[in-house]
């Protein structure tokens, strides 16, 4: 087992009486690309903000690189590249000045020129116009500035809060190729998302958080086996009912007059084979939303694999 880069022990945060996170335990190992999945308001950002020292935990403790997140906060932050979910910058400042300001805040441990050289490369790859003023930036462009600020000092750990929201697909691809390069160079990635497919594609480990609690932690490979598809069928209802009834891994069946919808968690090849044998007028197989998966797969029986 390689060393834990992030370790949270019984982290709990209440905002007054409202719940942030409850008894959260988390371990991210060096070299992981770790996905942190959950619906909005589940406590993803709360967890991240505690790790970064923006807010303090009500109880529990945490370490990053083996250092205490409260006592050694500044030292830890030297090695972290953070991308907030909604980045805001100082109004009236040019993009390049923001990047320079960020580099200067890192100058104790990394020469500003080195950071800026790195920044220029990333700006080029992301096609970011650095002469614009921060007020003129779209959400996507603000994200790109965040990416540059998170990466230019070559941190050992990236904490990315919903990094792809607002980026167009092409940029998402470029962004993930940047992330993968850094990961190959040895950096650890911790990213939160509510898009399951994103986590499936890019992460090797993941934890699912719901209502402030981690309900499952496992390798993405293992989690994917339980990841279901939402299937909508139109056509001959007798045929459809027939295959629904004898296939394994069908949950949450909703049958209407001329259509049926269900979650399919079994082998996708079996589904296709069955479908080819019946008459359907329309079919769609889509990602279910997370809530659905939670409801049907992680709702009651909470799994907790401690092998992460």
């Amino acid at each position: 087992m390689s060393e834990a880069v992030i370790e949270a022990v019984n982290l709990t945060k209440y905002y007054g009486k409202s719940r942030g996170i409850i008894d959260l335990n988390l371990k991210v190992r060096e070299g992981d690309i770790f996905g942190f999945i959950g619906p909005n308001g589940a406590g993803k950002s709360t967890t991240i903000r505690i790790l970064l020292g923006l807010i303090s935990a009500t109880s529990g403790s945490g370490t990053v690189f083996g250092r205490d997140i409260v006592k050694d906060k500044e030292r830890i932050l030297e090695d972290i590249g953070y991308m907030p979910s909604e980045a805001m910058f100082y109004s009236g400042m040019k993009v390049w000045d923001i990047i320079k300001f960020s580099a200067e805040l890192h100058k104790k441990h990394r020469a500003v020129e080195d950071s800026l050289r790195e920044a220029r490369d990333i700006c080029e790859r992301l096609e970011l116009d650095t002469s614009k003023k921060s007020d003129e930036l779209s959400l996507g462009n603000r994200k790109k500035v965040s990416v540059v600020c998170a990466m230019q000092h070559k941190p050992k750990l990236y904490i990315l809060d919903e990094p792809t929201s607002g980026l167009d697909p092409l940029m998402q691809k470029e962004f993930f190729s940047l992330i993968r390069e850094r990961n190959k160079e040895g950096a650890t990635i911790f990213l939160s998302s509510h898009i399951l497919s994103e986590i499936q594609r890019y992460c090797n480990y993941a934890a699912i958080i719901r209502e402030g609690k981690i309900i499952v932690r496992d390798s993405v490979e293992a989690l994917s086996k339980t990841s279901a598809k939402r299937v909508n069928l139109h056509g001959n209802m007798n045929d459809i009912k027939g295959i629904i009834n004898h296939m394994e891994g069908v949950k949450g069946i909703q049958i209407l007059q001329d259509s049926a919808a269900f979650l399919f968690g079994g082998d996708i090849n079996i589904l296709l084979k069955e479908l080819s044998g019946i008459r359907v007028s329309d079919v769609s197989i889509t990602e279910p939303d997370l809530d659905e998966i939670f409801m049907h797969y992680y709702g009651s029986g909470v799994k907790d694999n401690d092998n992460i």
Partner: protein
């Protein structure tokens, strides 16, 4: 120094505008003086016989017909209100604006301690006040030279020194308040400065309310007191410095533990 520099850079337009506005008003007032001087005996008598109003602005112990008396009253009002509002403004917004504009998350996820942030921002507040006051004093001295009056330089400097201390107190108290609030508190800052100003006026008018002059920083920056005795009130200014120090400690203490609102 990085945060200090950024604050100064971002605040420079506001600083220039306030400095120009205050300097210009002082300049215009002093330009009027030579014209008024001839008619001053009557005006002075009139001003001296307005009862509470006379006392409120300290015109009972200052001679409006002399340059220092005139300067004390005029300067007292322009510099008092203008400087205090500016100090309140930059004090209250230094920390709170980072949260109001959602830049705190960006700033504080860099390897900087909260203590360093507070320190650099406090220095930025002081630095801006120093610039404002030096500029205003220079404009005043130049204006005296233009109208050919020879003021008591020592009293002028002492007066402006008192204003500076007052602005630092107001600025730092607002700064400490901003370490507690979640969103920008511009209203709180301006309100605080205004209340302090009126405390002083009430303290001037009524002897029962004289204790107010020990609370408000305007109490030790009262032109009529400073010019007539040519020294600062030790007790009042000690209270002021004590309050300032307490505000600084409170700001450091609170901000280093604060949950940042995003």
């Amino acid at each position: 120094m990085t945060i200090f520099k950024l604050d100064i850079k971002r605040g420079r337009i506001s600083l220039i505008v306030w400095t120009l506005a205050i300097s210009f008003m002082l300049f215009v007032c002093l330009m009027i003086f030579p014209q008024m001087k001839g008619q001053m005996n009557e005006i002075s008598d009139m001003y001296a016989s307005m009862g509470s109003f006379t006392k409120a602005f300290g015109m009972d112990s200052l001679n409006f017909g002399e340059i220092m008396g005139f300067y004390g009253v005029e300067c007292g009002n322009i510099m008092g209100i203008g400087g205090a509002l500016f100090a309140a403004l930059i004090g209250i917004s230094a920390l709170a604006n980072e949260e109001k504009n959602h830049t705190a998350e960006f700033l504080l996820t860099h390897p900087v301690s909260r203590i360093a942030v507070v320190k650099e921002k406090l220095f930025a507040v002081i630095f801006q006040l120093v610039i404002l006051n030096i500029a205003v004093v220079l404009v005043s001295l130049a204006s005296f030279a233009i109208i050919g009056e020879k003021p008591d330089i020592e009293a002028v400097l002492l007066l402006h020194f008192a204003y500076f201390i007052m602005q630092v107190e107001i600025g730092f108290v607002c700064f400490a308040v901003s370490a507690f609030i979640k969103r920008g508190g511009l209203g709180i800052g301006i309100g605080f400065a205004a209340i302090m100003y009126f405390f002083n006026i009430i303290g001037n008018i009524s002897e029962d309310a004289e204790f107010l002059k020990y609370i408000t920083p305007f109490g030790y920056a009262e032109a009529s007191d400073i010019i007539s005795v040519n020294e600062l009130d030790g007790i009042k200014i000690s209270i002021g410095i004590g309050v300032t120090a307490a505000a600084v400690i409170l700001a450091f203490y609170r901000y280093s533990k604060k949950d940042i609102n995003i």
